[in-house]
Amino acid sequence: MPVFQVKAIIIENSQMARDIWRMKIYSPEITKAAYPGQFLMLRVRDELLPLLRRPFSFSTINVSEGIFSILYKVVGHGTRLMTKMLAGESVGVLAPLGRGFSKPPDGTKRVWLLAGGIGIAPFFALLEMLKRDSSKLEISLFYGAATGEELVDCRFFENNNCKVNLCTDDGTCGLHGLITDSVERACSLTILPDFFYSCGPTPMQSKVIEWAKCNGIRGQVSMETYMACGMGVCLGCSISKKFFTGNKNEETNYLRVCREGPVFSIGEEN
């Protein structure tokens, strides 16, 4: 797996929803090497503050144009500074990193995508990959956010024959409630999926894993932890294996989210 450390040109940096921005970056080599679910480490500026690079998932990967994009939520110092960057400026990128999503097992018919908040980011690239590989998959997106204004435009999913189920914590758009509630409800009304992909905050992932275990559904979750290096070196991003297996009695064993993840399989041997 090649990794590139480059200064790449920003093609676009614009707001998509409340506190949510998209940055398009030109880098043919990274675009060519990247896989949905993989991530990059972005150097917000060439100074010592903020010190660390920030991790972001590839949101779209356009190999023919040599352009990828990230979808990012403004939460702190680094992401606030990112909104000030202009098209034409260059930005330091270290990528592609980690293990991305893999294809659903043969014979899979129904796939659910579960996105909590900014967890929607990698699903653009994932949907494209899934559609490219198997146009017959029946794909549904469950996408939740705190409030309607924080939902990004989902026409891309609709245009790709993916059923979109929205929900918001405050009921301003779609179902009223958490995404896991929305999934539970769907379970009782429709046929369960054969496979799922989930991306969102850790408490949501925790519930999703439980749900998957209960219903015997296999899938993949993309995790977020604090990262310093993104390259398996610092051992800072570890997550306990138990998080995925749910087996509290097994010996403590940590996995590096940046290396063994960020995408982990559920319902198989890890």
């Binding site: 797996m1 090649p2 990794v3 450390q5 150097r43 010592l48 503050l49 903020p50 010190l51 660390l52 690079r53 330091g92 270290l94 932890t225 604090y226 990262m227 310093a228 290096c229 993104g230 390259m231 398996g232 070196v233 610092c234 051992l235 800072g236 991003c237 570890s238 997550i239 306990s240 010996e251 403590t252 064993n253 940590y254």
Partner: protein, 307 residues
Amino acid sequence: MINLEVTLGPLKLPNPVMVASGTFGYGLEYSSLLDISKLGGIVVKGLSLKPRPGNPPPRIVETCAGLINSIGLENVGVEDFINKKLPLLLKRDVPVIVNILGNTVEEYAEVGNILSDAEGISALEINISCPNVKSGGIIFGTDPKQAYNVVSAVRKNTSLPLITKLTPNVTDIGMMAKVVVEAGTDIISAINTVSAMAVDINTRKPKLANVFGGLSGPAIKPIALKKVWDVVNTVDVPVIGIGGISSYEDALEFLLIGAQAIQVGTANFINPGTSIEIIEGIRSFLERNNIDDINKFIGSLELDTAK
């Protein structure tokens, strides 16, 4: 031609720029991004007798120009290292220094022993910033007697060049330096991370599961420089400067006050090419200043003696 070669007692290095333990993995992780054979040396992640899982996450938190980590002692164990990691690393023709750790004097000694039998290792670096489980968890490196015991135990078991890495979290690092020199260390490296913590006022919890951790990065450079100064001016063995080095200027500051080599730590995470850029930067600095040998610059600080 500018000479960058430095000789630290029994240890000869092609140039004074190494990468610090815990910030460069087992040596090969970054090799797709940089030519590691150009480095003055690679200090690998601290190894213990048996593999260890390390501390529960979260393990890192960013601070203003710094990073606190509480990785704990996570590592693959000395055996796995020798069998799986070392052979590949040795192909790269770069000095390999192994950082060792333990929770008892015996464990340190044993790890040192095992590594001495392995081929191709250039030196051992003893990390004495570990808790001594037998004496209630007090850190070896903060107690002169314990530090002495660890270093002399390892010394007995190896003829490899021995580096002892000091912690800054002591009143008098010069005194600790004397003690480990007496115990037989050939070289001293300093500093390890500075004790620190961070809390979240919203969740009202510590930001690290382990509550405490060690601060590294640019924030600690002025502290590291003072500690290295204290060591350099107390003992006669060669000293390796560590702490917040992110540029060739930073590196030269440590060399100027008398460190004979340096290690780059946290900066590797931000720019994996840092150490190579530092080597280039030192070379052109010397060129610009018509200095043909780095050893002429090392320790050349001028003090106003009028004072």
